[in-house]
Amino acid sequence: MTADAPLPDEAVPENSGSRRKGRANLLPQTRFGGPIPWVIAILIALVVIAAAGGLALRNLAENARADLSGAVTVQIVEADAQTRSANANAAAQVLGNHPLVTSVRIVPEAELAELLEPWLGANAASGDVPIPALIDVELSRRANADEIANLQQSLDEVVEGARVDAQSEWLRPVYDALAALQYLALALIALIAFATAAAVWLAARTAFSNHSDTVEIIHLLGGTDAQVTRIFQRSVLRDAAFGAVVGLLLGLAAVWLLGAQFAALDSGMVAGGGLGWTDWLVIAAIPVGGVLLALITGRITIGFALRSML
């Protein structure tokens, strides 16, 4: 100790060289040793899967609705083939004059027989079993229940035994189920976001508690709440960013695997559930949202903890 020597000058030359870059970490760095980055990774992966599932269901429902909601099928139920054919032609004429209808097509008997062959066998077209005539009708827009009833009434005035089936009505239970699944996905995302915030809150409280002595020293040396908060936020940011990237990769891998499985079904309806580029943008925003959520939660947690100190 050289206390007899003059105290070093306080003023330091502007151009004094720095032999050390950067600043010390006031909190010990754990190199992702703690559980929190991994917990965040798992939660982000679950959100990515839930979001991708929800978006795929939405796309599937929208595509199906777009295909079906602007169309109706008219059945002519008549045992006598000649009368049935005449009724079908009369119904097609009525439908063709209706302002809501854009196109009318009487489904040929051969096509009907082919459709029914899996159930009725090769004799479906023999005429032994009376098959209703079918008319595919394209509408200019999605018709509501009143308009469908009006269409039915127009047919009833001219053709006996004509029945209008709105295709979107058949699929209403399916749409409802899909909508329920979408709400479930949203609820899952909300729950996982809550769990993420809770995990960060717990981690921040624990970190603050573990380092309360360091925090007190920083305070006593003139450190401000903002400086202490920044120290903890850097730690939260690092852990959350790591967890978010790992979670995104895990989630994308799971989505890709599920996508490949569903694609193998080779179903037209499932094909409508593919993800578009806006969907991928939404999925890419999930880790960013996760990191922001973690930062805000960490900031609030540390802010409350600091208020209990002098």
Partner: protein
């Protein structure tokens, strides 16, 4: 110096209790002046550390008034405390070094927290470690340093920002007599050359004779038992700066 307050610390009827326990400090009224050297003595448990906690703004009193640097510390919002803490240098009884930081980074803390340019930090800390004879231990963490080395790091950290008031709690408690004397000389140097007000808490009465111009406060069971200054050595000290202390 004209902008300095005439008194650096003023306690008026201050009491301190922890929770619902009896008061550990009672009816403390005294004034400290800039540029003076004070010893705070008393047996273990007399309340020295509690009084120092009030002085280095780690604790608010249960009652009474405290003014420091011309401001009322009782009504001061906690968000403004850092401004005043940066005017203080504290050598804690158990050093309170940040264990995962090197000696260099521990000493640099007050400057970095004050937002000092990193190049200036490096130069100032290097010079300070040189001054306390620890240049070769700059990269060492506290766990690998001896008690004396840690104490010097703590002292270097306390004085690096040239505080207006230096508060040391039993700074010679863990070192041999030679080192204790060297530490006192260091505090004297700060007091003489920089004009820092120094307050050293000690239960070692032999130390009091080592700093001739010092003033002495004696705590006994939480009260200043010797306000007449009978234990001062020498009895009528000459205080530098704006005048003597009244205790």
């Amino acid at each position: 110096m004209s902008d300095r307050p005439a008194e650096i610390v003023k306690f008026d009827n201050v009491g301190l209790r922890y929770g619902t326990d009896p008061e550990v400090l009672s009816d403390l009224s005294f004034t400290l002046y800039p540029g003076s050297f004070y010893f705070l003595t008393g047996a273990s448990g007399a309340g020295k550390t509690s009084l120092l906690k009030l002085l280095y703004l780690a604790q608010r009193p249960s009652r009474g008034a405290i003014r420091m640097f011309g401001k009322d510390m009782i009504t001061l919002p906690r968000t403004r405390l850092p401004d005043f803490r940066r005017r203080l240098g504290v050598v804690f009884q158990n050093f309170r070094l940040v264990q995962h930081l090197s000696a260099f980074d521990n000493v640099a803390l007050p400057l970095r927290l004050a937002g000092t340019d990193e190049a200036r930090v490096v130069k100032a800390v290097s010079d300070m470690l040189d001054w306390v004879g620890l240049s070769h231990r700059a990269r060492a963490i506290p766990a690998t340093m001896s008690g004396g080395e840690q104490q010097r790091v703590a002292i270097a950290r306390a004085v690096i920002a040239r505080p207006q008031m230096l508060i040391a709690d039993e700074p010679t408690g863990n070192v041999d007599p030679d080192m204790a004397l060297k530490l006192l000389r260091l505090f004297e140097a700060l007091n003489n050359r920089v004009g820092t007000t120094v307050i050293v808490a000690t239960h070692d009465v032999h130390l009091l004779k080592k700093v001739p111009d010092s003033l002495i406060m004696r705590l006994n069971k939480g009260q200043l038992s010797d306000p007449t200054g009978a234990l001062r050595y020498p009895p009528r000290p000459t205080v530098k700066g704006t005048g003597g202390g009244s205790v």
